[in-house]
């Protein structure tokens, strides 16, 4: 569903991401982890088509993001950590706008339950400036999920959500994966990653230092057996770690 081959992103002479490859199939959730500046957001933005890879290939639902970007984007939802909203569109108008762009014809039927699920029903005529940080994040999530994407990319999706919102978001991600969506989840919340993700991609300084299921990763590093994910993460992303 999501295929990435030898993805490299250069900014001048600086290599933000170096030759990363991975696949996320239907129903899989890939956890993307790494310390600050490891290249996680750059990787996600390349996959979402926000920035162009310097080298390599990205496919979404079989569509090459370079050759057929519109088809690739139609199958995709990218939910960033900082919600990007139009300050002059209400909650309701945001969703109608997205519906038109993605060809969601039954928007009138979909809106009420979606707004109710995200506790935005009473705010449907509010502008983003009148919403709390968490509600803005919920609106961004609603916009992302509205067209039932088959590929879902989430960059720190729980930022700003209250405990109830966090629980619902976890359930939503799991439900989307169960229904066949390929999900990439970037987060510093290692317990969330451990609980939800079917496999991991660990980045350090733009390079992949580990990729696979947690057990596969640990099997290559016997000293990490019976250690917590946090210990595994810290060990893998230590500066003297050599990629294997």
């Amino acid at each position: 569903m999501i295929g990435v081959r030898a993805l490299t992103k250069l900014y001048g002479s600086f290599t933000a991401v170096r030759s990363i490859s991975f696949d996320v199939g239907p129903g899989e959730i890939l956890g993307l982890v790494g310390p600050n500046g490891a290249g996680k957001t750059t990787t996600l933005r390349c996959v979402a088509g926000i920035i162009s890879p310097s080298r390599g290939e990205v496919t979404i639902a079989g569509h090459d993001t370079r050759k057929d970007p519109v088809s690739a984007k139609r199958a995709l939802a990218f939910i960033p950590d900082e919600p990007h909203l139009f300050e002059y569109l209400t909650v309701d108008e945001h969703l109608r706008f997205i519906a038109r762009l993605y060809g969601v014809l039954d928007i009138d039927a979909r809106l009420p339950p979606l707004l109710a699920e995200l506790e935005l029903s009473e705010k449907r005529r509010a502008l983003p400036g009148e919403l709390s940080r968490g509600m803005r994040q919920k609106l961004a999530i609603a916009c992302g999920l509205l067209h039932d994407p088959t590929a879902l990319i989430l960059d720190e999706p729980l930022t700003g959500l209250d405990p109830g919102g966090i629980r619902r978001m976890r359930e939503t991600i799991a439900a989307r994966a169960s229904s066949g969506a390929a999900v990439i989840l970037s987060s510093h919340l290692l317990n969330l990653v451990e609980e939800m993700c079917t496999k991991l991609l660990v980045l350090r300084r733009g390079e992949c230092v580990a990729y696979g299921t947690l057990s596969e990763i640990i099997s290559t590093r016997p000293e990490l057996v019976n250690r917590s994910l946090e210990d595994v993460f810290l060990e893998l992303t230590r500066d003297d770690t050599v990629a294997r």
Binding site: Y11, R45, A48, G49, I50, I51, S52, P69, V70, S71, K73, R74, L76, A77, F78, P80, H84, F86, E87, Y88, L89, T90, D92, E93, R96, F97, A99, R100, L101, Y102, G103, V104, L105, D106, I107, D108, R125, L127, P128, G129, E130
Partner: protein, 570 residues
């Protein structure tokens, strides 16, 4: 904290921020696109400002006595806009970082105003420098450094006045009657100035009406403004304007003292009108942050648009071409963020010029002239005032780039969002002029030609607006790091020079793109020497089609550029 160390820390913040910003902008020039733009910009600045030029009639007029009075009047009208329609709250806006660091710091609110004044000096100094070069072409005996000092005093005073008006309005809004009483001296002074101007116009209306042509009208206007009571109202402002128009060093020496005194009086006024400043500034800053969180606010004085709470919406069908959704979104944006007060100046100017062009003619002819002047002014300035296109949406580049629409369609929809409303207003104005000319005197063309222009004007206006808006959007797409993104319209007099440069460059691009359409239109008119009206319609429409084709090619190129644009560049 000692006053000196606070001022030093403000100076440090302003100078290091300015230096770092400049270095960041220059570093961009390493990329070929920005490097080429830097060269083109340098050549443009040289040709427009620095290139040696001879004194001409136009520039002599620019520094004449009539101009002096009219500039004074325009300055006062601009300031009245701040009092009546309020650039108020945003004149006080601080960036989020400034609110976070300066407001909790152990400094007085008065020192925060000092900081605002100091920071505004960057724009004031740049603007003064631009006008030194513009007026240098007047070829007067006044040395450039003295003119620079004059302009600095003029723009600083106008800036102080605008901030003072903002503080008075904030005080009245925050404290109601108490605030009004506290600032009554300022309010009464402003009311007296307005009354003197209105009284002057009424007292000498016969002289203004008697003018038979534009030149006589402007001379009469200058004469009326130089007579009481208008003269009394303009006097303090005239004192500030006068050194800029001095014809000799000796005259400048005589005029500069009172100008400095008026400027210092304004500074004193601002520093003693600080009631409600902190609350108002915080409110302004919060609204700015809410409005455009991604916007990197680099300017202190700008007119901004705060989205109004929606009372109605526009329907959007669930099916149809997706790019129409962009048009729908931007139309809602325009409805909710349009700043009607920025149109007050052009409307007043159009009324004045229309009256001048229609001097000695019936009122309906003056109305027609005013409508045409306003339509023309909207062609020139409309793109600056209506910004519901990529100049706003480049702030949302990450979102735009995830949308399933071809980038060239995004550009087309964005340009149409700004060009269509401008065109509609202009068509209405042209229609008003057409109707007003019927049965009147002084129409510039015969009925057949006027009808031909009326018929062909929608196509021509749409093509011209599209070309101008495309060129403005091109700067947002190609050089997002160098231009100001967001809904804000800069209206302060202290940014007038920069705006003049930008507008002239925009019009220059239009002139270049009009070469081919004009040649084609001229060819059609030359071939069809008879039936001129119908030939004119065809010529204008063919020209409009060619211009639209050129614009579409530019949009396609911009679509490629948008596809390659990355958020890190904005």
């Amino acid at each position: 904290m000692k006053t000196g160390s606070v001022a030093n820390s403000y100076l440090y913040l302003i100078s290091t921020s300015g230096r770092n910003r400049l270095l960041t902008l220059l570093r961009r020039a390493r990329s070929p696109r920005y490097g080429a733009a830097l060269v083109v910009g340098a050549v443009y600045i040289w040709a427009f400002l620095v290139r040696p030029a001879n004194t001409t009639g136009a520039t002599t007029f620019l520094l004449g006595r009539t101009s002096e009075m009219i500039v004074t009047l325009l300055a006062v009208i601009t300031l009245m806009g701040s009092w009546l329609f309020g650039s108020d709250i945003t004149a006080l806006a601080f960036s989020q970082a400034e609110v976070s660091f300066l407001f909790p710091a152990p400094v007085t609110r008065r020192s925060l105003i000092v900081y605002k004044l100091m920071r505004a000096q960057v724009a004031v100094l740049v603007n003064a420098l631009i006008w030194v070069f513009v007026l240098r072409r007047g070829g007067t005996a006044l040395p450039s450094p003295l003119r620079a000092v004059s302009l600095w005093i003029l723009f600083s005073t106008l800036n102080f006045h605008r901030l003072g008006a903002a503080l008075v309005r904030a005080s009245v809004r925050a404290h109601g009657g108490v605030g009004a009483r506290r600032t009554r001296t300022s309010i009464v002074a402003f009311a007296l100035v307005g009354a003197a101007l209105v009284g002057g116009a009424l007292a000498h209306r016969a002289e203004l009406r008697a003018a038979s042509d534009p030149t006589t009208f402007l001379s009469s206007l200058g004469h009326v403004l130089a007579q009481p009571p208008a003269y009394w109202g303009l006097y303090p402002f005239h004192l500030v304007v006068a050194p800029t128009f001095a014809r000799s060093v000796a005259e400048w020496g005589r005029l500069i003292g009172p100008a400095v005194a008026v400027m210092l009086l304004h500074a004193w006024w601002v520093l003693h009108t600080d009631a409600a400043f902190e609350d108002a500034a915080l409110e302004a800053s919060a609204e700015r942050a809410k409005r455009a969180e991604a916007m990197r606010s680099r300017r202190s004085i700008m007119a901004t648009s705060v989205p109004r709470a929606p009372t109605s919406t526009l329907p959007l069908a669930a099916h149809g071409h997706p790019s129409l959704a962009i048009l729908w979104k931007n139309t809602l944006c325009l409805r909710r963020t349009a700043q009607l007060r920025v149109f007050v100046g052009p409307v007043i100017m159009a009324a004045l010029l229309g009256s001048a062009f229609g001097s000695g003619l019936p009122t309906r002819t003056k109305v027609a002239m005013s409508a045409l002047v306003l339509a023309g002014m909207l062609i020139i300035f409309g793109g600056r005032l209506i910004r519901n296109d990529l100049r706003q949406d480049m702030q949302h580049l990450p979102l735009l780039k995830t949308l399933p629409i071809a980038p060239s369609h995004i550009v087309l929809a964005e340009v149409a969002s700004a060009a269509i409303p401008m065109t509609i207003v202009q068509i209405v104005l042209v229609a008003i002029a057409f109707v007003a000319f019927i049965g009147g005197h002084g129409a510039p063309f015969g009925t057949g030609t006027r009808l031909a222009l009326l018929i062909s004007s929608p196509a021509a206006l749409l093509a011209i607006n599209g070309a101008l808006v495309t060129s403005q959007n091109a700067t947002a797409v190609l050089f997002p790091a160098w231009i100001r993104l967001g809904p804000a319209v800069t209206t302060g007099v202290e940014t007038l020079g920069q705006n003049v440069l930008a507008t002239a460059a925009n019009l220059l691009s239009l002139v270049v793109s009009l070469v081919l359409p004009a040649a084609a239109g001229w060819g059609i008119l030359a071939l069809a020497s008879s039936a001129r009206a119908s030939a004119l319609v065809i010529a204008v429409i063919v020209g409009a089609i060619i211009l639209a084709a050129e614009t579409y090619a530019a949009m396609s190129y911009l679509g490629h550029a948008l596809a390659r644009a990355e958020p890190a560049q904005t």
